[in-house]
Amino acid sequence: MALEDICGFKDTPVHRKLKKSGRNSGIPLQFFIPTLPNSVPFNPRPSLPFSPSNHSVTVSRPFPLSHGTTTLGFIFQGGVIAAADSRASAGGLVACPAVHKITPIHSHLVVTSSGSGADCMLWERILAREIRLYQLRHRRCLSICGTAKLLSFMLHPFKGTDVCVALTLCGWDKEVGPKLIYVCSDGARLNGDIFSVGSGSPYAYGVLDRELRWSLSKEEAISLAREAVFRATHRDAYSGNKVDIFHITAQGWSQRKREDLKEEYYRDMERRIMFT
């Protein structure tokens, strides 16, 4: 982006190769990741029986990509809560114990990411750029629904490739109020009140589905989010380390200080000792 411009990097757009299919012709050029002329063309959906056999070679990865996560978001009377763990795993290795999986896009929108860490970082940056460009061109903020649709259409050309992003947009719309939208590189775009994504999500759903209520106070909601992430990190090997919690209201987002989940574990141990 900025670095690309400064270096004067000239890209050959991938979309020229796709001209024949006609499907991608409506999408503006800047939504395609530039590749060098001699690189491998991507091979959409090679598994279907009637697609022509493409002689492209998939690049072999030096290590397994990071995928494990627990992220969650829910809407309650006091706004939107977004929570996530902070472990980036690559196969059985904890590649980084202190990753930021929740990224603010603008003052009233925060994105939780899961899937491949590199893809998420890139697409969050692309999304932030496109939202800012929209704001500059049209002199108003794009709605959360519009942001989700834009992201979904930008990811669509990469469906069938190895791009793996599952983002939850948590935000506050001036007109509509709190919004929570799940967008994934498969193409799914779901509007809802509660989403949890990642390898630890079933465990988080187990806690959230029982105890989430509209009428929770802000402190109760935050402690519920922390508990859900804690239980998921306890059981899921690929989630852990710390928990980040963001709270989004009409005034914008606010971030709590990162908490190490081992404190939560010791608190839980003490609670159990007290009851037995």
Binding site: S21, R45, S51, G187, A188
Partner: protein, 199 residues
């Protein structure tokens, strides 16, 4: 895992779809609407690969609305169905085919009610009743047994409820609720959701 059903009567079409949006083993949403309103009297029900469904259905929806804006009158259900099929067929042998199964239900002033069955290989058939999904294996025989061309609206809803009962009894997946809509010469009407009670 998803289920669509349509039943055509003498002057109406009844359609229903389940409300689950799933991602591998998790139900991400319990109240997802799989019906897309193409015009005042045409509904498109769409299931299939995640992402392809909404993308394709919205593309058809916007094109049908564009036709109305350009020409001043709406596409008939038969024309809309054939347009949809043509699009599916065009992309079928491209590198990015759409993997979607569709039911198109509509009411035409001259031809009356119509139910069109389309699948991901872009076949098209006008049928008196149709279903998509694994649930179709269980319910098509019920429709074969009890369907009559002169069903009243209540009888059609009862037939639909029989099918849902069978799914709740024998289908391995839990489909807790179904959106039900009816199209007649007045337009599209929302009927009461069919729920199985167990939430």
């Amino acid at each position: 895992m998803e289920y669509l059903i349509g039943i055509q009567g003498p002057d109406f079409v009844l359609v229903a779809a389940d409300n689950v949006a799933a991602s591998s083993i998790i139900q991400m949403k319990h109240d997802y609407d799989k019906m897309f309103k193409l015009s005042e009297k045409i509904l498109l029900l769409c299931v299939g690969e995640a992402g392809d469904t909404a993308q394709f259905a919205e593309y058809i929806q916007k094109n049908v609305q564009l036709y109305k804006m350009r020409n001043g009158y709406e596409l008939s259900p038969s024309a809309a169905a054939n347009f949809t099929r043509k699009n599916l067929a065009d992309y079928l042998r491209s590198r990015t085919p759409y993997h979607v199964n569709l039911l198109l239900a509509g009411y035409d002033e001259t031809d009356g009610p119509g139910l069109y069955y389309m699948d991901y290989l872009s076949s098209l058939a006008k049928a008196p009743f149709a279903a998509h999904g694994y649930g179709a294996y269980l319910t098509l025989s019920i429709l074969d047994r009890h369907y009559r061309p002169d069903l009243t609206r209540d009888e059609a809803v009862d037939l639909l409820k029989k099918c849902v009962e069978e799914l709740n009894k024998r289908f391995i997946m839990n489909l807790p609720s179904f959106t039900v809509r009816l199209i007649d010469k007045e337009g599209i009407h929302d009927l009461e959701k069919i729920t199985s009670g167990a939430k």
